[in-house]
């Protein structure tokens, strides 16, 4: 499958290279069930991002959030901060794939003079909600009637089953081995153990531990799977010029990409079953940035299951299609000795399941040189977002 394949397409985006930068980041604690609401978590992440940017809430004149999980939207912002000023808004931000494209929306708003400082925020309280048997990813999926009638009755549900099926097909087509999926999980856990704020900090894991873990749905093991967490993060995007006046070194947005599958939103029906729309998104983002995968110092990708990392590493061009299994073996993904430092905060597997927003924050920290598992001389940091039929790519660099 190549970018010219007819199973999907890239979105045509304006060239926003080096127009905006992420100037502030904020994170809450990442935990198991906290008893907090997502709205409270979102407010705390927003407070911290605004403070990190050296700004006040009244300086924030644009906000993006996830319309699908609108726990901290513009109304929540106004209520929490007691503000009433006009704000540019979009519900097409937040986490997942939109954690990569929110800075693009911000860049357009800033260019049009509609905003100067745009906050993107994404909180989640799925650990708390799961404890009370409401919410969480499974419920979102079970509520769709076609899934209720054509998937769930046949046991093809929920996400671990979808991705076990994708994983098996990847093994069938490319000969990918269980230990190669395990290499991804081990690298993420290694990084989480260097990161005091990671949920799995202090819980070391070896490849043998991975291989001994129980299956949820064979060939997918428990340790191929993301956590369920409470937590949130936010970041502030502004013009590069403005960012240079703020306290932290700007993380410059150099490229953005977005790609879609034409096969709809059901995993069972993805024509390119073992390929993600990163094959459409990543080349566009790298082209906008004037960079290539070989230039990347740290990669974070949305990683609900190890196979999603495996596929995106291939589809973003870090190795040929089908060869990620061999590529990720050993220390390839390690922050210090690896040739592709990967999910250096621990990812959704071992840091926290906050749906990608912490991946972008990690990229910014790496460029600032303050990450817990810091990659030496990190100049180019990339986030790959994924939501099944959609993928997105964000290329961030040091200001230069």
């Amino acid at each position: 499958m190549s970018e010219t394949a007819d199973w999907g397409h890239a979105t045509d985006l304006d060239d926003i290279r080096a127009q905006v930068a992420i100037a502030g980041i904020g994170e809450t604690a990442y935990t198991k069930a906290s008893g907090r609401t997502a709205r409270e978590i979102g407010a705390e992440a927003a407070e911290r991002a605004i403070a990190d940017a050296g700004l006040t809430p009244s300086d924030i004149d644009g906000i993006t959030w996830s319309g699908a999980f609108a726990d901290f939207d513009v109304d929540a912002f106004r209520e929490h901060f007691g503000t009433s000023h006009e704000m540019w808004t979009s519900p097409w931000g937040g986490g997942m794939a939109w954690a990569a494209t929110a800075p693009y929306l911000a860049a357009r708003a800033i260019r049009e003079g509609e905003a100067r400082h745009v906050l993107n925020v994404f909180p989640v309280a799925w650990a708390t909600q799961r404890a009370s048997m409401t919410g969480g990813p499974g419920e979102v999926h079970a509520a769709q009637s076609l899934k209720q009638n054509l998937e769930v009755p046949f046991g093809w549900f929920p996400q671990p089953v979808y991705f076990a099926s994708i994983m098996r097909r990847h093994m069938i087509e490319f000969g990918t081995l269980p230990s190669q999926f395990g290499a991804i999980a081990v690298a993420c856990r290694r990084h989480a153990n260097l990161h005091p704020d990671a949920v799995m900090h202090g819980r070391p894991m070896t490849l043998d531990d991975y291989l001994a873990a129980p299956y949820l749905a064979e060939p997918l093991r428990l340790l191929d799977s993301c956590l369920i967490s409470d937590g949130g993060a936010a970041y502030v995007t502004t013009s590069v010029e403005r960012a240079r006046d703020l306290p932290h070194a700007p993380a410059v947005v150099r490229g953005v990409g977005e790609g879609y599958s034409a096969s709809g939103t059901h995993w069972a029906l993805q024509r390119a079953f073992t390929t993600t729309p990163q094959v459409f998104s990543a080349p566009r983002a790298f082209a906008m940035a004037g960079l290539s995968p070989a230039d990347v110092d740290v990669l974070t990708v949305y990683d609900p299951f190890t196979v999603v990392s495996m596929m995106q590493i291939e589809d973003m061009g870090f190795c040929p299609k089908g060869e990620a299994g061999r590529f990720v073996e050993g220390d390839t993904l390690f922050h210090d000795s690896g040739k592709l430092p990967f999910n250096t905060h621990g990812g959704l597997l071992s840091h926290a399941y906050v749906l990608g927003i912490a991946h972008v924050v990690e990229c910014v920290k790496q460029l600032r040189g303050v990450a817990a598992a810091q990659v030496p001389n990190c100049e180019v940091a990339v986030y790959g977002g994924y939501t099944g039929h959609m993928a997105s790519t964000l290329v961030l660099t040091k200001d230069r």
Partner: protein, 145 residues
């Protein structure tokens, strides 16, 4: 919670989008919507052909296909599956159009006997859950051929 049916996770045979699928299975026929204009199969069912807007007719297919992929489910993700695990849930690609993949059970074969892209054939069996006593729905399942 959007699921209020007391027969969940049995399929809702009264959902108009999929009623013919289950009515066909009850008669021993595997039916897939097909476009009256371009002749292509359209799966999952929808209101009209996404290519040309043509009307769709539920058409009988051979029931032959290949085992595209499968998972051996070992954890019961819903209470209804607690007494079924481990079980094999699969995607079967139909011979008429391999882009038509059915989520289904592969039955009468031990999981370790399954082989990628193996030929399979449909059979029609009652689907029952002990959590939904006294109810069953005939659905297409598959066996190795």
């Amino acid at each position: 919670m959007a699921i209020k049916r007391d027969d969940f996770p049995l399929p809702d045979v009264d959902d108009p989008l999929t009623t013919p699928f289950f009515a066909g299975a009850a008669r021993g026929e595997l039916l897939i919507p097909r476009c009256e204009t371009c002749g292509e199969y359209v799966w999952y069912p929808q209101e009209a052909c996404p290519r040309d807007g043509g009307g769709l007719t539920w058409s009988a297919v051979s029931g032959r296909g290949t085992l595209f992929t499968w998972a051996v489910v070992r954890r019961a993700f819903l209470p209804a599956f607690a007494d079924r695990v481990p079980f094999v849930t699969a995607l079967v690609a139909l011979d008429e159009d391999p882009a038509v993949r059915l989520c289904t059970y592969v039955v009468d074969t031990a999981p370790e006997q399954l082989v990628a892209d193996a030929p399979v054939a449909v059979c029609f069996r009652p689907l029952e859950f002990t959590t939904v006593p006294g109810r069953s729905v005939i659905v297409p399942m598959f066996t190795l051929t």
